[in-house]
C-alpha cells in the first residue's frame, strides 16, 4: 500500500510538472504579439470534391498574400472534426480558428465561453454584412452577438430522381403525397427500388427525410416551440402523426430492404446503378453525383422537393436546411493575432470567398448571381430551385445533442415497426431532460 501511495504521489507530481510546462509555453506564445503570428485552423476540407479543393486554395492564397502570418491548418473528416472540437473544448484548448456549425454547436461553445464575437469587424464592412440572405446569421447570433458567418448553405432534403425511369414506367413526378404513393407502388411492381435509403449512420433518415416531412405535418412554429418545450411537446398528436407518416412510407416499401444496414455511400451506389428511381439526400449529394454518377444517370437526374402532405400545417414550398458552417474564432485571440484571424475570416467567407464557393458548385447563403455557362447544369437547376424554396429547420441542428441521438435511433426503431407514441415519448423525455425541465 505504501509503495502504491508513493507511486501515486510521484505520478501526481509529474502531472503537475507537465501541466506547468505547457502553461509556461502558452504564456510565451501569447507574449509574442509582434509582426509574426501563427494561426491554427481546423477544417473539414479534406476531400477531392470541388468545394474542398476551393477552400484549401483560398487558405493557400491567404498564406501567399500574408507572409507575416503562418497558417497551420489541419483537415479532419467531418465526424472526426466534430468529436475533436468537443474534446479540445472540454480542455479549453480551442484552435485559433475552426469550422463550426450554426445553432446547437455555436450555442454550446458560446455557453462554454470559447467564442469571440465578430460584430465590430462585420459592422466595419456593411456591404458584406448586408448581402447575406435573410436569417443567414441567426444560427450564429446569440444575444445580439454574432459569432460567425455562414460559408455555404446546406439544404438537407432534396429528391434526386431518375427521369428515365419515371418516363419508362409512365409515373408522374410526385407533387402530392398520393402521387408519391402511386409512384412507390408502380416502381415496386416493376422491381425498381422507389427510394434508396442508407440509414446505418442514423442521422440520414432524420436529416434528409424526416426533418422536411415532419415540418410539412407540424409546421415550423410548432417544432420551434417543442424544441424550447414552450407550449408544445413531442408527445403532441401533430408529431405522432408525422412519425406515422414516415412509418407508413416504410410500410409501403418506399425504401429497399435492409436500409438500416447500409450507409449513405452505399445508398448513392444504388441510385448510381439505376436500381432506384429516387434518392433523398442533402444539397451536398450534388457534388458526389456530378463527379461519380455514370453519365446516363447524371444526365437524367433532376431535383425536386418532398411533396405536400394533405392536412399538414407546414409550408409545402419549403425544405429542411441549415445555413452552412462558419469559421469560429477562439476567445483567447488578441491584438495582431486577432486582426489576422479576422482577415482570414474575410478571405474565406467574404464576397470573394463566397464567389469561389459558388463557382465550386456549392450553394451559399449570400446574394450572388450564378454564371450558368460555368456551372454544371444540375447545379444550375438546384440554384434555380432554391430561389423559390424556403428553408425550414433541421431536427439535428435545433434539438439538443442527447435528443438528436434519441431521435436518430428512434427513427430506426420506427421504421422497424416501433410504436410512434413510444418513440415520441422518448424524444420528449430526452429534450425535456436536456433543457432541465
Amino acid at each position: 500500500m505504501k509503495k502504491f501511495t508513493k507511486a501515486a504521489l510521484a505520478a501526481a507530481v509529474s502531472v503537475f510538472m507537465l501541466v506547468g510546462c505547457s502553461n509556461q509555453e502558452a504564456a510565451n506564445n501569447e507574449g509574442s504579439t509582434g509582426e509574426k503570428v501563427t494561426l491554427t485552423v481546423w477544417h473539414n476540407w479534406t476531400g477531392q470534391d470541388a468545394k474542398s479543393v476551393t477552400m484549401r486554395k483560398l487558405l493557400a492564397d491567404f498564406q501567399t498574400a500574408h507572409p507575416e502570418v503562418t497558417l497551420e491548418d489541419e483537415g479532419l473528416p467531418t465526424d472526426g472534426l466534430k468529436t475533436r472540437l468537443r474534446t479540445v473544448a472540454a480542455a479549453d484548448e480551442m484552435p485559433d480558428l475552426f469550422v463550426m456549425w450554426p445553432d446547437a454547436m455555436t450555442k454550446e461553445f458560446q455557453k462554454g465561453d470559447l467564442l469571440q464575437p465578430i460584430n465590430e469587424f462585420l459592422d466595419s464592412k456593411p456591404e458584406w454584412r448586408d448581402n447575406f440572405i435573410p436569417n443567414a446569421l441567426d444560427g450564429y447570433t446569440i444575444d445580439d452577438n454574432i459569432y460567425s458567418v455562414p460559408m455555404n448553405l446546406a439544404p438537407t432534403s432534396f429528391i434526386f430522381y431518375n427521369k428515365l425511369l419515371f418516363d419508362q414506367y409512365k409515373v408522374a413526378i410526385p407533387k402530392t403525397w398520393d402521387e408519391l404513393m402511386t409512384a412507390i407502388d408502380t416502381f415496386n411492381k416493376n422491381d425498381i427500388i422507389p427510394i434508396a435509403l442508407g440509414n446505418k449512420t442514423n442521422w440520414v433518415a432524420q436529416s434528409t427525410i424526416f426533418s422536411t416531412l415532419a415540418d410539412r405535418v407540424t409546421g415550423s412554429d410548432w417544432f420551434l416551440k417543442a424544441v424550447n418545450q414552450d407550449g408544445a411537446k413531442f408527445t403532441d398528436p401533430e408529431f405522432v402523426k408525422a412519425l406515422t407518416v414516415l412509418q407508413d412510407l416504410g410500410k409501403a416499401k418506399a425504401f429497399q430492404d435492409g436500409f438500416n444496414g447500409i450507409d449513405e455511400t452505399q445508398m448513392m451506389q444504388l441510385y448510381f446503378q439505376g436500381k432506384s428511381a429516387m434518392v433523398i439526400d442533402g444539397g451536398w449529394a450534388l457534388a458526389n453525383l456530378v463527379s461519380n454518377a455514370p453519365k446516363e444517370v447524371l444526365d437524367n437526374t433532376h431535383i425536386t422537393i418532398i411533396p405536400s402532405i394533405t392536412g399538414g400545417k407546414g409550408d409545402a414550398g419549403s425544405t429542411a436546411g441549415v445555413v452552412g458552417t462558419g469559421l469560429g474564432i477562439s476567445k483567447k485571440l488578441t491584438g495582431a493575432k486577432k486582426d489576422a484571424a479576422m482577415e482570414l475570416l474575410y478571405a474565406l467567407s467574404g464576397p470573394d470567398g463566397q464567389q469561389a464557393t459558388l463557382d465550386s458548385s456549392t450553394l451559399i447563403s449570400y446574394n450572388l448571381e450564378l454564371d450558368p455557362s460555368k456551372a454544371n447544369p444540375l447545379f444550375v437547376e438546384l440554384h434555380e430551385l432554391m430561389k423559390n424554396v424556403k428553408i425550414s429547420p433541421v431536427y439535428d441542428a435545433k434539438l439538443s445533442s442527447a435528443a438528436v441521438e434519441v431521435t436518430n435511433n428512434g427513427l430506426q426503431e420506427l421504421l422497424m415497426g416501433g410504436k410512434p407514441e413510444d418513440i415520441a415519448k422518448k424524444i420528449q423525455d430526452a429534450q425535456a431532460k436536456a433543457l432541465g425541465k
Binding site: 465561453d113 470559447l114 449512420t201 430492404d257 435492409g258 438500416n260 430506426q412
Partner: protein, 291 residues
C-alpha cells in the same frame, strides 16, 4: 546487502514503466470515475449530481441490452473461437504445403485492419448485392435470405462470424506453439501404450496444453468485453441499439450525445464489470487443484 542492492535496482528499473502506467492508466481511470458523479456536457460548467448517473444507467434498458450483447459476444468467443482454434490447430499440425497455406489463410484476418474486415463483411451481408444472399439464392434457399445487419433481431448474431473469423488465427498460433512444445517422447510413450486418435487427444494433448487454454480463455473474455471497433464500423451499435455493446454505448453517450459525465459513469461501470469477471475467473482457476 546484496539483495537490498538488487532490490533497489529492480525498483529503479521498474519506476519509469510504473510511472507511465500510472499516468496513462490509473490517473485517467480515477479521473473518469470522478467525472461520473457530474452532469457535464464536456463544455462549460458541470454540476455535482452524486450517484444519479449510475441510477440512470441501472434504469436504462439500453445499458442492459448492451450488457446482454456483450455477454453474447463473450459466449461466442469462448465457445466459438477457442474450440475452433483448437480443432484447427490439431488438424493443421503437419508441415506440408496445403496445411501451411491453410494456416496462413486462417491467420490472414489478424493482419487486416478491422476497418477492412468490417467493409468485407458489410458487402457479404449487403441486402441487395451481398454474396451471402446471392449464394442462398443460387442454392434455392430464398427463404433463408435475411436482412443480416438491419434486422434488429439477428444483427447481433450476424456480427459473430466476422468476430470469430478475425480472431481465430491468433488462438490458432497460440495453440499450435503449445502443441509443438509437447515433448516427442510423451507421444512415443503414448503410442507404445496404444493410445491414438481421440484417446491421445483427451489424455495427452489437452492436459499438456491446458495452461495455454486457460490463458486463451482469459484473453478471449477480456478481448470480447472490450469489443468496439468491428461493431462500430459494421453497425454503429444500430439499428436502434440492437447491436449496442458496452463500449459503443459509452462512446455514443460521450461523443454523440455529449454527455461526458454519463459516459464516464458508464466507463467506470465497464471497469467494475471487467474487474468482477476477471477476479472471478482468477478465483475459479486458482482453486483448481494442480496436476
Amino acid at each position: 546487502m546484496n539483495t537490498l542492492r538488487s532490490r533497489r535496482f529492480i525498483i529503479m528499473g521498474l519506476l519509469p514503466a510504473m510511472l507511465i502506467y500510472a499516468l496513462f492508466v490509473f490517473v485517467p481511470v480515477i479521473w473518469s470515475a470522478y467525472y461520473g458523479f457530474f452532469n457535464w456536457s464536456g463544455i462549460g460548467a458541470s454540476s455535482f449530481i452524486g450517484l444519479d448517473n449510475y441510477v440512470e444507467i441501472v434504469h436504462d434498458p439500453i445499458f442492459w441490452r448492451a450488457l446482454k450483447n456483450n455477454f453474447i459476444f463473450v459466449g461466442a468467443a469462448v465457445l466459438g473461437q477457442v474450440p475452433l482454434a483448437l480443432i484447427l490447430a490439431i488438424l493443421l499440425s503437419k508441415n506440408n504445403f496445403l496445411q501451411r497455406f491453410l494456416r496462413s489463410a486462417i491467420f490472414l484476418p489478424m493482419v487486416l485492419s478491422t476497418v477492412v474486415i468490417g467493409m468485407i463483411w458489410q458487402y457479404i451481408y449487403h441486402p441487395q448485392i451481398g454474396i451471402l444472399n446471392f449464394f442462398l439464392d443460387t442454392l434455392g434457399l430464398e427463404s433463408w435470405k435475411l436482412q443480416w445487419l438491419s434486422d434488429g433481431k439477428i444483427a447481433i448474431f450476424a456480427l459473430i462470424p466476422p468476430l470469430i473469423w478475425s480472431f481465430v488465427g491468433l488462438y490458432l498460433i497460440i495453440f499450435m506453439s503449445a502443441l509443438q512444445n509437447i515433448p516427442g517422447e510423451i507421444h512415443d510413450a503414448a503410442q507404445l501404450d496404444g493410445a491414438t486418435g481421440l484417446r491421445k487427444l483427451a489424455s495427452i494433448s489437452l492436459p499438456m496444453i491446458w495452461g495455454t487454454v486457460q490463458v486463451a480463455l482469459v484473453l478471449c473474455i477480456s478481448g470480447s468485453l472490450k469489443s468496439f471497433d468491428l461493431v462500430y464500423i459494421m453497425t454503429k451499435g444500430g439499428p436502434a441499439h440492437a447491436t449496442e455493446l458496452l463500449a459503443t454505448y459509452m462512446y455514443n453517450s460521450t461523443f454523440t450525445s455529449y454527455r461526458y459525465g454519463f459516459g464516464s459513469a458508464i466507463s467506470t461501470t465497464i471497469v467494475l464489470i471487467s474487474l468482477i469477471l476477471i477476479g472471478s475467473s482468477q478465483w475459479i482457476t486458482s482453486r483448481k487443484p494442480k496436476q
